[in-house]
């Protein structure tokens, strides 16, 4: 029932063991760009914990999927096929190995020991199919080390790897909770790494194992304070909304309730423009102590207060338009309710093709395909599958089992 696509990854078959968030999102990335993605799930429904309620964020559901429900096209398993398979059983392992022989990529985010302990480590997979690429996403990596078997969630991993230590108000050392984005950051790095491994495989004919420690992928983004420690021995604390060598840089109160505007001024030329705009209402901005970048950095509290005495009388969107007319980076600090009606974001989401399956089309799309190719756009090709929905197609058509055998697998709880 899945429509064939002409996406850039058409012809690539991916085995998806993803659960919770990073893994399913990675599988979705492949699917949206044209790959065939087969989700492996436990026949008893044990595996594949959904992250945010039934069928929403995570995984294929055991319940029948209502294909006219738009939610089924927003979940991370949209468009995937589902094979239910007991990987503990000998028959299950045999089916799995046949599948590996005809696949290109395996993605899994189990803890590091799970696949090897099932007898399905990379050494086994590569003997079956030397072209196979296995991507293992774990919190702290697949090799030895004191944190290898740590039980962790994204927010605790952000704490452990130092990422959380710089998130908070600059006048307090108590870090604030983050938006828990380690999983998608790791998924992005993993997607890139697998695409690179596919490039290499095209010339060498050989796949490989990619070990992705979520902490190591995510810590890249705090390279700046890490480098400051390496070069100067300085230990950064919570940064508030400030950024080194940049002022003004922050969120400023505007007229509405809990309404703020983001303003960042990148260079002296932009400062002159900004200052002239603000000076029409607030003379204080022309204070000579704000004249140079160093002066603004040295007097940043006062600078921020002065700016806020101007911004507080306008709505965030009014002021955004004024500043943007002069090419100053600005935008309202958006909340979820604002974004439902955000013209620009809605337009971005719509650039991915909508579903044409079963004459169903999405009127509204809230999770589009983010990579825009002028030819070969990403597509959303179908809803979340129900568990085991594609067992027959995969076992009979793809792997060549006869129907009686499949009936036996089913009655023995293998699928």
């Amino acid at each position: 029932m899945t429509a064939t696509t002409n996406g850039p990854l058409s012809g690539i078959r991916v085995i998806d063991h993803g659960h919770v968030w990073a893994g399913p999102l990675l599988g979705m990335s492949f699917k949206d760009m044209g790959a065939e993605v087969i989700k492996i799930q436990s026949p008893t429904g044990g595996s594949g914990v959904s992250m945010a309620g039934k069928g929403m964020a995570g995984t294929a559901t055991r319940d029948a999927v209502d294909i006219s429900d738009p939610m089924a096209y927003h979940a991370f398993d949209r468009g995937k096929k589902s094979l239910s398979l007991d990987l503990q059983s000998e028959d299950g392992k045999e089916i799995y190995k046949k599948l590996i022989a005809v696949s290109d990529v395996v993605v899994e985010n189990f803890s590091a020991r799970v696949m090897p302990s099932l007898g399905l480590g990379f050494d086994v997979l590569t003997r079956i199919n030397p072209k196979i690429i296995l991507a293992s996403l774990s919190a702290t990596g697949a090799t030895d080390g004191p944190w290898r078997d740590l039980v962790t969630y994204g927010p605790s991993l952000a704490a452990l790897y130092g990422i959380k230590s710089v998130l908070g108000y600059h006048d307090s050392d108590h870090p604030q909770e983050d938006q828990a984005d380690l999983d998608p950051t790791a998924a992005g790095h993993a997607f890139f790494a697998i695409l690179a491994a596919l490039e290499s495989r095209d010339t060498t004919g050989r796949g490989q194992h990619i070990d992705i420690a979520q902490g190591e992928a995510c810590i890249q983004r705090i390279a700046e304070p890490l480098m400051d420690y390496f070069l100067n021995g300085r230990v950064a604390g919570p940064q508030g909304n400030r950024y080194p060598a940049t002022a003004p840089h922050g969120y400023y109160k505007t007229s509405g309730l809990d309404e703020w505007i983001s303003i960042s001024v990148r260079n002296q030329e932009e400062w002159e423009t900004f200052k002239d705009l603000a000076a029409q209402k607030s003379e204080d901005i022309t204070n000579p102590k704000f004249k140079t970048l160093q002066g603004r950095l040295d007097n940043q509290d006062e600078l921020d207060e002065t700016i806020e005495s101007w911004t507080k009388d306008y709505t965030a969107m009014q002021l955004t338009k004024t500043l943007q007319k002069s090419k100053i980076p600005a935008y309202p600090v958006m909340g979820t309710l604002d974004l439902v009606n955000d013209e620009n974001l809605n337009s971005l989401h719509r650039t991915s093709l909508t579903v044409t399956d079963n004459n169903f089309s999405l009127d509204s799309l809230y999770r589009g395909v983010i990579w825009k190719l002028e030819k070969g756009q990403g597509e959303i090709t179908g809803p979340t599958p129900s568990t085991g929905a594609d067992n027959d197609e995969i076992l009979i058509d793809l792997l060549g089992y006869d129907e009686r055998k499949v009936i036996a697998f089913r009655s023995n709880g293998i699928i």
Binding site: P8, A159, Y161, G240, I370, E374
Partner: protein
């Protein structure tokens, strides 16, 4: 050193400025691609003037952000605001597979720097553009930075104290996300090019990356489940506990969605009576009383150091971990055993370390083949060997300030 990375056959031009495009270029270069970074004459990329600098003394070769983001690249100076500079870029684009950019839309649609111009002599050229608001969207012309994109994505309204200003994701985290997804768009477009036997332009919007892929907007959860995120300071609502909790010498992240983990934590504190408090019977509702509930167990945490707590939690398979400071993660045994930090020897800066591989490849590993280049270090190779300019043509370019 022999280049062995999985992208070793890829030839790339990097144009634009600051973090996002430089991170995309670094991801490609560290996997073996040849990445030529085009920089402004004399001052170079603004990464070079940003810092952090050793002893805080500005120096065009010594900015820490530049040393990290430009590993393995070649540096060529060329003023793309001049027509001669644009013509030379078009000539250079005839001989590469990929151009990555984070030019502003004004620059991108400049007829000399557009995909159409750059592919003039190379119809197999792929270009990947990192934009803030998009390429064919209502606010495509608007200016933006990592701060703007974080604000516009919805992510900030979920971070910080409810009675204070919302917080951005510090150190331009959004630009790093733009870099990774710009690099992904590039590799996807290269595959598409081979299918079509024709080049193409691809782009991403950092706002959409943050709103949609990183989950910042919260819109799907709101529309389909009625869940509206809020910012709850050092806590997060939803289930309890999810918070940054004080220990005697710092803070610990406390989070558990699984009842067994919560029970092991209670057990660790010798099963106090308050554990039966009815307000804890459904931990999806407990957040409402978090102040009273916190008071039960915060003193126990506050009486121990982070490392004492970390040891106890790890032994009992409880997913609470210390908030490490930057120096503490750098000195951690785990990352030392993983060989994560990478020692670099640079002709001007001397030796220093940088964060290492975001992924380990079994066959074609990530590597640092050369440190970040000096400004214009590869000018001669580029203008003479690649573009075939004569000595006098080259010195003319320098005289005119174009290189």
């Amino acid at each position: 050193m022999d280049i062995h990375g999985p992208l070793k056959n890829l030839r790339v031009l990097e144009i634009g400025d600051f973090i996002s495009v430089a991170y995309a270029g670094k991801l490609l270069a560290d996997l073996g691609a040849e990445v030529i970074k085009i920089e402004k004459p004399i001052i170079g990329d603004s990464l070079r003037s940003h810092g952090p600098f050793p002893k805080d003394i500005p120096h065009i070769e010594k900015s820490g952000l530049h040393l990290f983001l430009n590993t393995n690249k070649k540096s060529v100076t060329l003023d793309l605001a001049t027509q001669v500079g644009q013509d030379l870029l078009i000539s250079a684009a005839a001989d590469v597979d990929l151009v990555i950019s984070n030019l502003s839309l004004e620059e991108l649609t400049n007829e000399r720097l557009s995909y159409e111009s750059l592919s003039e002599n190379n119809d197999m050229l792929v270009m990947s553009s990192i934009t803030i608001f998009g390429y064919d969207t209502p606010y495509r012309d608007w200016a933006g930075t990592a701060l703007t994109a974080t604000a516009a994505s919805g992510a900030s309204k979920k971070i910080g104290s409810p009675d204070k200003v919302p917080l951005w994701l510090p150190y331009c985290a959004a630009d790093f996300q733009g870099g990774i997804h710009g690099a992904i768009a590039a590799l996807l477009a290269l595959r598409k090019k081979r299918q079509l036997n024709q080049g193409l332009h691809a782009w991403i919007s950092v706002v959409e990356v943050m709103a949609s892929y990183l989950g910042g907007s919260g819109v799907p959860g709101f529309v389909f489940q009625g869940v509206l995120g809020s910012r709850d300071g050092t806590h997060r609502s939803g289930f309890y506990p999810w918070q940054v909790t004080p220990a005697s010498d710092g803070f610990v992240e406390v989070i558990t969605m699984v009842d067994e983990q919560w029970k092991r934590f209670i057990n660790l504190m010798d099963n106090p009576d308050w554990a039966d408090d009815p307000r804890l019977s459904d931990r999806w509702l407990s957040f409402e009383w978090h102040k009273e509930l916190d008071a039960f167990w915060h003193p126990w945490m506050k009486g121990k150091t982070r490392s004492e707590l970390f040891k106890l939690f790890s032994e009992n398979r409880i997913p609470f971990q210390p908030v490490n400071k930057v120096n503490e993660i750098i000195e951690s045994e785990h990352l030392a055993v993983r060989g994560f930090w990478h020692e670099i020897e640079h002709p001007v800066v001397g030796s220093y370390k940088i964060p290492g591989a975001p992924y380990l490849f079994s066959e074609t590993p990530w590597a640092v083949y050369r440190p970040a280049p000096q400004l214009g270090e590869h000018n001669e190779e580029f203008f003479k060997t690649r573009l075939g300019l004569t000595t006098s043509e080259r010195s003319n370019l320098t005289k005119l300030g174009i290189t």
